[in-house]
């Protein structure tokens, strides 16, 4: 009987102790505001640096002469599991050899279908495309998510072959 009473009070005390241990943890963080980990996103946009390998969206690299390396071989189109890349090619006269040659007319990229799996980048034989670090993809009109990656008037870099 007395044992039961002692156990009853012991139970209460251990219960209180476990509760206080928990409160100590949260209390520690309350009184140490330096441990706050919040990043205030739009404010820190200037300093926010994504990692190099971050897969934001596919971009076609252009140099300062508005030239890119894409030969229009459509390896990326085949590699893509979701059909988010469409290469519309055209025949073009090569100025050097004056023979007709395949080139891209439009490199269409459907961002809305992309799963960012990186397979197109791996498939590209000429390293023409790359994943950019941009991550702010939200738009009000979904048609804006269909992008043409080659810039107007751009042409293939000299010396790039399939």
């Amino acid at each position: 009987m007395i044992k039961a009473i002692i156990n009853y009070f012991k139970e209460i005390f251990t219960a209180c102790r476990t509760l206080i241990t928990g409160m100590k943890v949260t209390g520690y963080y309350f009184f140490h505001p330096k441990e706050i980990i919040t990043q205030q996103y739009p404010e820190n946009r200037a300093t926010l640096q994504m990692f190099d390998r971050f897969r934001g969206e596919v971009v076609l690299l252009h140099d300062e002469n508005n030239e890119h390396k894409c030969t229009g071989c459509s390896a990326c189109e085949i590699a893509c599991p979701n059909g988010s890349i469409e290469i519309i090619s055209k025949k073009e006269i090569d100025p050097e050899t004056s023979k007709p040659k395949k080139a891209i007319d439009k490199f269409v990229y459907h961002l809305s279908m992309c799963t960012f799996c990186n397979l197109c980048i791996l498939a590209c034989p000429t390293d023409a495309i790359k994943m950019s670090k941009s991550f702010e993809h939200s738009v009000y009109d979904r048609s804006k998510l269909t992008k043409v990656l080659n810039k107007p008037g751009s042409k293939i870099m000299a010396g790039i072959k399939e």
């Binding site: 209460i12 928990g22 409160m23 949260t26 963080y29």
Partner: protein
């Protein structure tokens, strides 16, 4: 009109006299009542807004976050923005619900906090009512709030709401006992239920210090039971969002939801206010026995600041509970009350009687 921050009695009387000079006696009384009503309405609204902001900030700091930061400096205008949003939201009602009771419930939950807040002594002479049944009135009126919750749950025509309301009903009715008994422990010492007398009796030290061990136990029981009665975590079973989505107020939206929200936070304030008044001397500054110098130094701080500081400390404690502990299950909740708190508070009451009779308290 003489305004004294240490004693509001003359200030209130002078307002009363001024009204009586201007108006006929009947009209003066009505104007006085309206004045008090409007003051409390404003006070409760401000209170709701500020406590919601404080809660969000405190919770954020417990969780290593910053909390609202965008609207106003450090997010201070966030709750105002929220209220504006809630006012403009469409008030929805479920099909086949009892619309009349559904709308009424939101108001009924607000009745009891308004009625209780009338007796809270904010500072010397600053209270709307000073009953000789003070504490009894508080416990009596605070039992009204459960009706609103039950009605809200039932009239929503939603099974989750109904379960939430049932839980909350069982919870509030059982925890009322412990609250009453733990407050009684102090009433034994003061010999009065009148809140102003209770505050005056702590002139030479607060009851939590003077009242020996039983006072501390009574305070612990009070704080646990009142957390449960106000449906706050870890006792927030009535709105347990992981089980019942939002419990009894699942179907409420817009301003009616805001009423439930407001009632919860005003209840939080009332609990802290009653706790501070009974155990921590209300507006009475910290006095230690006969240390005249120390006591006079403490008296420099106005009583109203003392009161709100104590209330803030208790509110912080309740928030600390909420943001640390997991939620109890309904049977454990009732077990805690009937198996632990109630026997303990009865035992504590007996102990307190012994302490009081033998004069072991200071």
């Amino acid at each position: 009109m003489n305004f004294n921050i240490y004693d509001f009695t003359e200030f209130i009387i002078s307002i009363d006299n001024w009204l009586k000079q201007l108006l006929s006696p009947g009209l003066a009384k009505i104007t006085g009542m309206a004045l008090i009503g409007v003051t409390f309405l404003l006070f409760v609204t401000l209170l709701g807004l500020s406590i919601v902001y404080i809660e969000r900030k405190v919770c954020a700091f417990f969780q290593q976050r910053l909390g609202p930061m965008r609207v106003g400096f450090w997010g201070t205008a966030q709750t105002i923005a929220d209220i504006i949003k809630l006012i403009f939201k469409e008030p929805l009602a479920t099909k086949n619900s009892d619309k009349f009771l559904f709308n009424l419930a939101a108001f009924i939950v607000l009745i009891s906090p308004f009625m209780v807040i009338a007796v809270v002594p904010f500072a010397k002479g600053l209270h709307a009512l000073d009953f000789d049944i003070g504490l009894f009135y508080v416990t009596a009126v605070s039992s009204l709030g459960v009706t609103g919750i039950l009605l809200a749950g039932w009239s929503s025509n939603n099974k989750y709401s109904l379960i939430g309301a049932m839980r909350s009903g069982a919870q509030i009715i059982s925890y009322e006992l412990s609250i009453g008994l733990s407050l009684l422990a102090i009433v034994i010492l003061t010999g009065s239920l009148q809140l102003s007398v209770i505050v005056e009796s702590q002139r030479d030290g607060w009851w939590i210090f003077k009242g020996n061990i039983p006072a501390i136990v009574a305070f612990i029981i009070f704080i646990i039971a009142s957390t449960a009665e106000s449906n706050r975590g870890p006792f927030d079973l009535a709105e347990a969002e992981s089980e019942l989505t939002a419990g009894f107020h699942t179907e409420y939206s817009g301003i009616k939801f805001a009423f439930f929200f407001l009632a919860e936070y005003v209840n939080l304030f009332i609990i802290a206010a009653i706790g501070a008044t009974v155990f921590f001397g209300g507006w009475m500054p910290l006095h230690i026995g006969n240390f005249t110098f120390f006591n006079e130094a403490m008296d420099i701080i106005p009583p109203i600041i003392w009161f709100f500081a104590k209330v803030a400390a208790l509110i912080f404690l309740l928030m600390w509970f909420k943001w640390t502990f997991p939620r109890l299950r309904i049977d454990q909740l009732l077990q805690l009350e009937w198996k632990y708190l109630l026997p303990l508070s009865i035992l504590n009451l007996v102990l307190m009687t012994i302490v009081s009779l033998t004069g072991w308290h200071l």
